[in-house]
Amino acid sequence: MRVGLVCPYSWDVPGGVQEHIRDLAETLMDLGHQVSVITPADDDTVLPSYAVSAGRAVPVPYNGSVGRVAFGFLSASRVRRWLKEGQFDVLHVHEPAAPSLSLLAAWSATGPIVATVHIANPRSRLLHAATPILEYVGEKISARIAVSEAARTTLVEHLGGDAVLIPNGVNVRRYEKADPLPGWPGPGGALGFLGRMDEARKGLAVLLAAFGILGPQRPGLRLLIAGPGDAEEAMEKVPPALRDRVVLLGQVSEEDKVRVYHSVDVFCAPNTGGESFGIVLAEAMAAGAPIVASDLDAFRMVLRGGEAGELFATGDPDALAQAAARLLDDPARRAELSAAARRAVRAFDWPAVAREVVQVYETVRLGGGSVGVSGR
């Protein structure tokens, strides 16, 4: 199948949407499909062989921050040319409500169009002036995919209609192997956490309280924390005597993130709610980390009801401390959980996810026809 993928954001800026499109494109090619990606990119960016630049992205105020998107009649004509030359069987646009290439492509194209919505949009009120544009684009889209329940809600509000939920893939290969950070996990054992420190629902406070219980009992135990946020504020929640055993890495690079998962004996996901999927959990599973996680519905599903990781009563530091202590004392159980996690995460691996996406492509192609360019 010839697939045209449209990326709305600049390829040279790291971001979840760009990463998703790269992984999807490469996996589709592994599965034997022909893929072309059109994306905004700086002139000096080296693009992979399957990607085409639609020109430089321009920073503009968008949704309360500055977005780097490509718009304007020049971008529009480049997209039309790409559509014409590509002869695609399916056009797959990402984030079609963003003022960028995806909107332009869906506007110009005819035939089977699939749209994926990634981000839950905080803008709740629809724009009157923008409604006709989004309505027109919405009418042309044959199938919609949402990566999370929140994204699905946004899509329904913005473009109408319903969407199928296909969660983000995890590139298992990228997490499978890595060297632990120097000196970790260490002889006294190590607990780990990854996520924003200042976002209450990520539950760092629960973990710090649990460490307050475990720390005095286990003199060698350390806690490794990676993620952006106010370090001082986090440290204030740790009893002073234990502070030298809590290591805050702050925001880490992609490579170091993988190493963090491999640097701890027990990885903790103490989230108190709001997770639709738990990408961090899936990454930790791909790395084979023994996991202790809150008993949220989403986590229970990802961890197969506790088979691929221990669950504890959400928000309860005592329960977390007990569960972590049990695992720290039982290397055999840790190895068992690690193997189970690696098995369970395959359901979220890119090949599995891409196959679901291909099913969507095949369904919209049943209607017949291929991608063309409309007269306007």
Partner: protein
Amino acid sequence: MTRIIVIIAVALLVGVYISWRAGRLDRMHTRLDTARAALDAALLRRSSVALELASSGLLDPATSLLVAGAAHDARTAAPGDQELAESDLTRTLRAAFGQPDFRASLAGRAGAAELLAETEAAAHQVFLARRFYNSAVTTTRTARRRWLVRLFRLAGSAGPPQFFEIDDSLVAPGSDEAAPPGVSRLAG
């Protein structure tokens, strides 16, 4: 006896002077209110024209969506967020107008020249109205700092007027592109 007359006369004169100063300050506040009303009207006009441009079908859909979103946000911003939202509208219009060959691409389209001219005129009016308002703020703030005004609380209990600080230039600072007539350029 003469001494009493002199004291009364001086007190009277001081009273008249203070009330004259209070009147001056009052007129200053009136001018400030008028300038603010003019600024709000100019901002409203600009966001209306921007919305009209966005829904005119002259621009490509992505640019339309950007301009419509920025204009909508500027119109509905809470008082604390207004300066940021209006600056965002300026930057969005600047990005739209700043596309290479933007004017050439619209040349000959029905109504395009008029709508572009109207948008630029509205943006220039914001530029003017903001300067007049800020200058009224400056004079009022200076007058309010005088010891006499402070001693007799002639300015009342309201806080000092605030400057309205936004990015209001349709031409990017440092751009060597000549500003078309009627398009404002930031001084300095």
